[in-house]
Amino acid sequence: MDNGFDADVIVIGAGGGGAVAAKELGEKGLKVLILEAGPWYGNSKWPEPNANAGAEESSSNDDLDIGLLKRIFTDLEDDMNDAITGKFRWGPADRNLSPWLRINEKGGFVWQSAGVGGTTQLYFANCPRAYPSAFESDWPIDYEEMIPYYEKVEGTLPVREATGTSKENLFFYGAKQMGFHYISETNLTEPGYRLQPNGILGINPMLSNPDFDLENNQAVGCTLRGHCVNGCCIGPNVGSVAKRSTLVSYIPYALATGNVEVMPNSFVTAINTGENKEEGLYAASVTIRNTWTGEVSERKAKVIVLSAGAIESPRLWLNSNLPENKWVGRGMTTHMIDCVSGIFEEDLMKVLGMSDVKPYVGQNSAARLDYPGLGAFEPFGTSPGIYATMIYGTSQKGYYFQNQTTEEEPWDREGIIAGELLKEFMRNYQRTLSIVVFSDDDVNQKNGVTLDPERKDENGYIPIISYEISEADRERRDQLVGLAAELLKKAGAKTVSRANWPPDVCAHIMSTMRIGFVTDSNCEALQVKRLFIADNSVLCNGLGGPNPTLTTQALATRTAQKIAEKYFPANTAT
């Protein structure tokens, strides 16, 4: 650009939030450069994205290649989701290199992926709105103000009612037995169960035709094959893949504007500032490190959007020595995720008209039960390695034989399942229904992300995640997990196990750069002008329990509008 900038706006991170901001800004005619730390799957400029550096950038939908995406997304869960060497990991594209380190102090882990599409590459695509009640405390904007932005994202992804299979049938049966009601509202104030609002296209209408050739399927639509988490690649082209990760939705929409360029394999290691009389400190440029070559360069823009995720965004702030703010990295919420699972015998027939649940079939999670005040939970199923680690392999309570279960507890055992019992339980994989529980955790300034004072990697000091559960949090969590376990019993489970995950497992990582505390109500940093935040970190709290991505995307849509209004008024005529 002839004004000395490399772009009007630089977006750091091509995940659930950054891709949305980029598309919205591109549509307003602004030149946007997205810098993404991880690889770009399904782009012909990177034919071997995990083996070779490939090109520097891509800015055209002509580069997207569904055949390539299908070759890379192998449906094999260790290949895709191994936390250390998988294609979806927090690490560089070159899988011969180590993952990037984070330290979870309490035994948890971070389930997050680098790459264009970020963690939406592997998310279940569940898109509920926040509970309106969550906006009553601390948020500087009203829930009502969010509604048009929710509607815009819901129309764009698009979000629609999920399609259930047997696991959802069984879940609904249990919910009904407990006396819960089906709810059809979008803005929830009362408990109830429903099909997920999710970002997955409708079912391929040819699917029930026994003559339909799945091998050469060129139709649009979900085929219920159960690989949301391992990377969906079902569709005639990248932009119409069934599960709407930003890799296949907002990124192609952004490219279609003709104004957006994406540089993968580009880790931003610093935000550099300038200072002037009018604004004080402002964001001026970023420093990038190429993950293949190690080459360091600088890019300048008028505005910088930080969308590196709820761990890396505060880490980058701190590593860039931006001004001290007692809320940077602090106040993290995680939904204190936990899992319960029940094993059913073959009399499942009576309920389902079939003899098993088949957790590997269907959308990974197509139903939910919302309980404003406590949180939410959802039945889920995946391929067996991930399933076993989630329901039997993760606990803060040690092994099941070390725990006594009391009469009042609706589960039969608690802790890691091991030994012959693990094999016996997994032998019942086909007849296992599992529920993942998201509890509403309060913002606590002690929880969050800090930098290790000594240990660095090539991108700066490494982040340490500390999280402690409060007594009120624990009560809500136990109550909600209890309801989920009871649902399984009411549905007819012969035996129910609670995992009891460490609360610092980070799959819903939120509120580490809170709106109103680190940023103003437009998501512009209070202490650094022209630096905006558009990822889960800027959420003000844990939304009451619902999955955060949709709210982050709605807020990013709003933020893009605010950026244009304030810094590019000529582009806001529409």
Binding site: R225, S383, G419, K423
Partner: protein, 207 residues
């Protein structure tokens, strides 16, 4: 093994001895997590007999731990054996292993005690078992230890063992050669392109 650890510390490293020590330790752990099961085999068919040992799950764990920025497998094996030795002492059992034992105290424990030992080192005060003289800090390895349980299940129940002769190659070079035993044990058919029921679907009912 004392001797071997000293050798290690002196930079004089007998690779085979160290390998045996590490692999035997992890096999003892993986076997406790996912054992061979003659009982299940009797009840449900021969395939249920096999466990982590047949599927190289210990080797998967070693490979995984050594893929972190700081390779952890040797250190983790030392920690397991130190904790096992302590565990045997606490129980008042004979813990002084003969010189030719290879120092694998962990192997001397019952499967349940092996898991109790793992639990000790993954609890917040488990940090005391981290041996002095390691190049890494306790803070480097302590957060990695709880991942062992998840890694074991991922290694065993995912496709990884089916990579056969390519399983230890760089991830880009692995090829699925056969259906893992675990998939046969649990009835997982492997990836498929679509799920159809003749005559259409009975989708989840709302009421």
């Amino acid at each position: 093994m004392k001797k071997n650890i000293q050798n290690l510390n002196n930079g004089f490293l007998d690779k085979n001895v160290v390998y045996d020590y590490v692999v035997n330790t992890f096999r003892a752990y993986a076997d406790a997590m996912i054992p061979q099961s003659p009982n299940l085999a009797k009840q449900y068919g021969k395939i249920q007999f096999y466990g982590a040992l047949e599927s190289y799950t210990a080797e998967y764990l070693i490979m995984s731990l050594d893929s972190y920025p700081t390779p952890f497998a040797i250190a983790a094996a030392e920690i397991l054996n130190l904790a096992a030795k302590q565990y045997l002492m606490d129980k008042g059992e004979d813990w002084d292993l003969p010189d030719d034992s290879g120092g694998v105290y962990f192997l001397k424990l019952t499967p349940e005690d092996r898991l109790k030992t793992i639990d000790r080192i993954t609890s917040t005060d488990g940090i005391i078992y981290i041996p002095a003289g390691l190049l890494m800090k306790p803070g480097d390895i302590a957060p990695v230890l709880p991942a062992l349980n998840r890694l074991t299940m991922m290694g065993y129940y995912s496709e990884w063992s089916g990579y056969g002769s390519t399983r230890f190659m760089s991830p880009n070079l692995r090829v699925l050669e056969y259906i893992p035993i675990s998939w046969k044990q649990i009835g997982y058919p492997g990836p498929f392109l679509g799920y159809r029921i003749p005559g259409g679907y009975k989708f989840a009912q709302k009421q």
